[in-house]
Symmetry: C2
Subunit: 457 residues, 2 copies
């Protein structure tokens, strides 16, 4: 049996490894168009900030390692066509530019996501970069080494934009961040966005909200290090020697679509809970695949590395077995990013998302510390919890500050277990002064909400 | 209505505050025999290590603060007798030594726990201390200031003993720790105990396991700073200028017992889930009270500050309402302590405890990192998960290393929600390189156990 995996980052490599483990006698091959495989793409901003030395540290496993485990890896090989009836593929060797055919018994599509390139003048200029693949990071690193830019503009205030604003500040650049929407960190509620905004400005990042970039051009008059980029938006123009465009990603589904794979309402590949597509013997996993929101049951597309890994495990297992062995239960959209000294995390639905999904919500915000107040190094934490007024169930939590990864993970687990705010009030968590306040901010918020429910109920 | 609370640390102050809030027109009074109230007793080792400056920082709220909220606080007042039929109390003013009577409509017993004093010769010597109350910490601090001891013996390898071994090492003393049992950290499994043991020895603590202390005596021949304590155990004798005895605590139940309050099988005050005792209008909460193990349903006594606080909230609310408004669901026995650079945490049942409780168990141990492996400062984590082979439910987790408070709290929440290992495999937690590996060690362990269940099932 031949199992072909298209794509070799989080979902693809995990799916391939699982498939080989579940069906050791099968042939497993990964086609990957980029020159690297098994990349920690989430680590790229930290490679660019300089705190991770050496791009090779971002490569979890080399093609050789996969080969040792019996998995064939073909990098710089782009799959150009899938014939699902004949179970055949057309592949281009991107080094030699030659094409050839392969066939599969089972196919796993893990083509990932691609950066959204804005349709604005100048986005193709030299010195204007996206950050999607390790080759992008290489190009940015090379450019910084050559040009030694003193100023940078980051376009987009989502988590990659914010991580890059930190990274370039750490590299000594003056950074301006332009967010088209009303606020940065747009998947979060306004309370969190404001805290992040204030912290970034404190660290020297200039933030411009509410206007999209309208154009970028080179200006070459004067200036001793040659030309600069001029970024135009709203009423303003900012000059910079480096521009990072990070306005989002979208699922890479062209290959799948042309092969007759059905897409879902999010634009990603529609899958059932076994990660099967509409085509026989074709599974999908990772950033190219749609799943469901665990809370609402609605279609969800959440392109994140840990989710991709989990999906890959399910798809790889089921593809190898040829049956519905494992099920993927959906996602909460749990995520976190670092913005200088802050962690910024979220799980489940924001207040706006919950209201939009039709819930009657109750919200509680608490300001607390990440350790006992008297313990050295204790720092501020803000946490907002959203619950369903009728059932008492926790729908979402946002947190910003120090050690919020713990609070977000506890909240995600509580939602996963269907816990109500009343049940969380007496949740038995671990306390000692170096690790938190006597009662976790999660418990504090649940206690407030529990009181609100009692009063309103 | 007059609500009297006996005891003013975590449970007592919380119960009083809640009672006043729920029934603002009631009189609420706290009698506390120690001179301080609302103490963070868990912070005492850090006061003694010197990293928390000033004992007053351990006082969360002063009697004046309580008075501002309408709660009367009588420190240095010991309640000597409860007449539950007449609803009367006899109280001794420990300053004047005079006694007087008071009466109550509702009584909350929050008398806490007391240190176990071993029946061994010499335990009453000057320079031999327990650490139970802030007054004990004061006495130790004064003694260290006066005598400047260079060597110390800590008797007992539970969490207070281990925290004190760290604290005294930080103060520059050479520390020997004597544990009567087979291993230190006895509530943990042997894997964790061994990691903690090795780490302490690396930090210079000498550990002696397997023999109880048989006696302590003063030896005054020679030595330029006068007499030393000689601690005898097994075949050995250790000399030291300071001895801390931390062999455990037991519930302070004398007052309750004499009043006719029924004790449970653990020796603590028996309560129902509303924190009621067997006597009408008498509740109990905190370290003096017994509850149930959330997993097994068996009687449990877990004297910890956060649990006391949660129990106090339930008892205070119900006492104020005079009805069963809130229920306390029991405990997992979740706990954590710091031992130099390690966190040492546990929730639920250890493997031995689970087997003893009659479960057929599966166990998985994982060694992981607390951040992405390539991220600077990433450190080792050991996690062991115990599951019920039949239901797949998680029964307990132990973890030691960096950032294990998060892993323990996630595990506690998963147990609280009744999650199976299979359900935890795809749990959607927060990932970014600064905060953890792609998949949490909790998910890694659940994945191993899920595989074991499939194979054995």
């Amino acid at each position: 049996m031949r199992i072909v995996v298209v794509g070799g980052v989080a979902a693809g490599t995990k799916a391939a490894s699982r498939a080989k483990r579940v069906a050791p006698d099968s042939e497993v091959v990964i086609y990957q168009s980029e020159p690297d495989i098994s990349i920690s793409e989430c680590g790229m901003p930290y490679f660019l900030s300089g705190i991770i030395e050496g791009r090779e540290r971002l490569v979890a496993r080399t093609p050789e390692k996969f080969r040792e485990n019996g998995i064939e890896v073909k990098v710089r090989h782009g799959v150009e066509k899938v014939d699902a009836d004949a179970k055949k593929l057309v592949i281009r060797n991107l080094e030699s530019d030659a094409t050839f055919e392969d066939s599969y018994d089972r196919l796993i599509i893990a083509t990932g996501a691609k950066a959204v390139v804005p349709p604005i003048p100048g986005s193709g200029l030299d010195g204007v970069f996206k950050l999607r693949f390790l080759t992008d990071a290489d190009a940015i690193e090379r450019y910084i080494g050559e040009k030694e830019p003193k100023n940078a503009v980051v376009v987009g205030g989502g988590y990659i934009g914010l991580e890059m604003a930190e990274a370039l500040t750490e590299r000594g650049m003056g950074v301006s961040l332009i967010e088209a929407g009303k606020e940065i960190a747009p998947t979060h509620g306004p309370e969190v966005a404001r805290i992040v905004n204030a912290h970034l400005e404190e660290k020297g990042v200039r933030i411009y909200e509410g206007n999209p970039v309208e154009g970028m051009e080179m200006a070459c008059e004067g200036g001793d290090d040659g030309c600069v980029h001029v970024v135009e938006f709203g009423e303003a123009r900012i000059e910079a020697s480096l521009v990072i465009v990070a306005i989002g990603v979208k699922p890479e589904v062209e290959l799948a679509k042309e092969a007759g794979v059905e897409l879902g309402e999010t634009g990603a590949i529609k899958t059932d809970k076994f990660m099967r597509t509409n085509l026989a013997d074709v599974w999908a996993a990772g950033d190219c695949a749609e799943t469901t929101n665990y809370i609402t049951g609605e279609a969800a597309w959440v392109p994140l590395g840990d989710t991709a890994n989990q999906m890959g495990r399910v798809a790889g297992t089921n593809a190898a077995k040829g049956e519905n062995g494992l099920a993927f239960p959906g996602v909460l959209g749990t995520g976190i990013f670092k913005a200088f000294d802050l962690g910024v995390g979220k799980t489940g639905l924001s207040e706006a998302e919950a209201n939009e999904a039709g819930y009657e919500t109750l919200c509680a915000s608490v300001e607390a510390r990440n350790r006992a107040g008297y313990f050295p190094g204790s720092a501020e934490v803000f946490l907002k919890m959203i619950s369903d007024k009728n059932s008492g169930r926790i729908l979402g939590v946002e947190a910003v500050g120090a050690s919020v990864d713990k609070l977000v993970d506890v909240s995600a687990t509580a939602i996963w277990g269907g816990l109500t705010v009343g049940e969380v009030v007496n949740l038995d968590l671990a306390y000692a002064p170096p690790f938190g306040p006597t009662l976790s901010p999660v418990i504090q918020a649940a206690t407030v909400l529990s009181g609100k429910s009692l009063r309103s109920g």
